[in-house]
């Protein structure tokens, strides 16, 4: 495509020649989604497309996401990027998109529908299993492990929780996994929960935090409790986690590649607009990072802060 910059400016009523991609995400304010947005914007600037990026405040706000999707369609975009909180709830609107001949690119997690031309996503279950693998290895295959999860009903929360627990159950008989606790992804609340877990299970050996807020909360909680020797495994890559890994408080974390998700999403959307063919699934991948590989340029490229 052309390389005109500043294309991501989002003033209404832009020129009709410039393709417009409306992106409705699962979230907006969290760092992860901001990274997706950044990736999308970068790619859009390259491709000369205009994008808008919106998402509900929490992953429980299904109706609000549906409203956002409706509004996005009202603007007759050239393509739609969509990360469904609940695929079925969006089915009717996806049909509408299809009938309006608006190609839909799913991202982050799959949309249970054959309408999306492709899906650019992380396999959350596999990613959490990877975290479990490392946790088990770090603990030498035994001990009590707690989970601080960001949500009990959202897809990502469920998949990461189950992915972690299932792997442990299947592969690490020496490890006891406590009932997951949910902190809503709020750092302070997750920290308080972590401290309660430590208080009620003084023998705790490891804690898994299922997203950025949960992981940072776990780190803060462990620090505040003054307890040493707890192995923390996190998810996502915020500055707080990177620092914690560097200083040894956190053992390591899984990073997805949110910037790539955003880029792939826009790339795919542009291809769809141009009528090019696309694979059904674009795996954006996930990676384990810890003290040993954190400065590796390949990993550095994935970390977003």
């Amino acid at each position: 495509g052309s390389s005109s910059s500043g294309g991501s400016s989002s003033s209404g009523g832009g020129s009709s020649s410039q393709p417009y991609i409306a992106i409705v995400s699962k979230g907006f304010q969290q760092e992860f989604w901001q990274a997706v947005k950044k990736g999308a914007e970068q790619e859009a600037a390259k491709e000369g497309a205009r994008i808008t990026f919106v998402g509900p405040p929490t992953e429980a706000d299904v109706e609000q996401q549906i409203n956002m999707l409706t509004d996005a369609l009202a603007k007759k975009p050239s393509a739609l990027g969509f990360a469904a909180l609940d695929s079925k709830a969006a089915a009717a609107l996806l049909d509408q998109a299809k009938s309006q001949k608006i190609p839909v690119v799913a991202f982050d997690s799959g949309v249970a529908s054959d309408i999306p031309v492709t899906t650019a996503a992380t396999d959350n279950k596999a990613a959490a299993a990877e975290a479990a693998t490392h946790m088990a290895a770090l603990l030498g295959g035994k001990g009590t492990v707690a989970m601080v999860v960001h949500d009990q009903t959202s897809r990502s929360g469920i998949d990461r929780r189950d992915g972690f627990m299932e792997w442990m159950k299947a592969n690490a008989p020496g490890i006891t996994v406590l009932a997951p606790q949910y902190g809503g992804g709020d750092q302070a609340k997750s920290a308080d929960i972590t401290k309660s877990i430590i208080a009620s299970h003084p023998d705790i050996a490891g804690i898994f935090g299922s997203n950025e807020g949960s992981a940072v909360g776990a780190i803060k909680g462990v620090q505040e409790s003054g307890k040493h020797g707890i192995t923390i495994v996190g998810f996502d890559s915020t500055k707080a986690q990177i620092d914690a890994i560097k200083s040894g408080v956190e053992a390591g974390a899984i990073t997805q590649n949110p910037i790539a998700i955003g880029e792939q999403l826009v790339k795919a959307a542009m291809k769809a607009i141009r009528g090019e063919s696309l694979p059904k699934f674009i795996n954006t991948g996930f990676y384990w990072y810890d003290k040993s590989n954190i400065d590796d340029p390949k990993i550095q490229a994935l970390l977003y802060q």
Binding site: S10, S11, G12, G13, F28, T52, F53, V54, G55, P57, T58, A60, D61, V62, E63, I66, N67, M68, T70, D71, A72, A74, K75, K76, D86, K88, A89, A91, A92, D151, Q152, T153, S154, I158
Partner: protein
Amino acid sequence: MATLMATLKTSAQRLVTGGVSSAVKDRLQQSLAFASLIVIFAFFSFASPDFFTYSNITAILFSTVVIGTLALGTTFVIITGGIDLSIGTGMALCAVMSGVFIVNIRLPVGVGVLSAILFGGLIGLVNGFNVAVLKIPPFIATLAMMLVAQGLALVISHSTPIYFNDASGYVAISTGNLIPGVNFPNAVVILAVVAVVSAVLLKKTVLGRFAYSIGSNEEATALSGINVRKWKIIVYAFAGLFIGLAGVMISARLGSAQPATGMGYELQAIAAVVIGGTSLSGGKGSIVGTVIGALIISVLNNGLQITSIPQEWQNVILGGVILIAVYADIIRKRT
């Protein structure tokens, strides 16, 4: 005595004329209450060609349904001087119950829907009991219910959505079209009907009259021989029916009962009520106002999206416009 009579007469006249002119003023005010809404509406219509289209207007109305339904019921509660924080998560619980009734127990859709609505009434009844009989401040009583409902929704649904796939007709409650071929969702029709019924109940029945009376002066109402306790319970239970209805409408729209949703809806619904001119200290308020309040919120939400305002700015603008709209209304009423 003669002079007295003369004075009485003139002051009576003064009163009466005062009364008439104020009635005209009232009528005028009522129609002007739309002003803020219309200005906002006009603005967005100019700002974006995609705003004032049939499908977008329908979309706005559709997006008003859930908050609107909750706001209607809450209007009654707020007029009594109370508040109901349990409407948001209560709605989620009712949606789950609707799923239990229709999907799990396999009740016929009609019966299931009715049961879910009555379940909402039950939530309201408990709120009413706590407020009226145990004399727990409404804020606390309904906050506790908010937490309980949130927890129960998760417990009952095992924290997973309940899908209404097999319940034919359920989804149509919200998304179906009354007139085949005309894309106008049933949910909006239902909201309109419910709004009219609410307005009649509020203005023309004992329920409404006593709601105003209790909110205006609870003690005086009791001294006038009215069973305040009973009527408060009735008002809360009645408002509960709207929680149930909202639960049905949202789950029908989404095709599933989402147990974790609902938090924050109470604030939006209460905001709609208050923007509509109902006083949180009770005794004052109207259904028309609430509908306008709910529309102002959803028109703003929609318009800001449609005009592609960056999301981080949307709330800033939303807050500012709400402030201006309410201030304009205050100014208008003052003069």
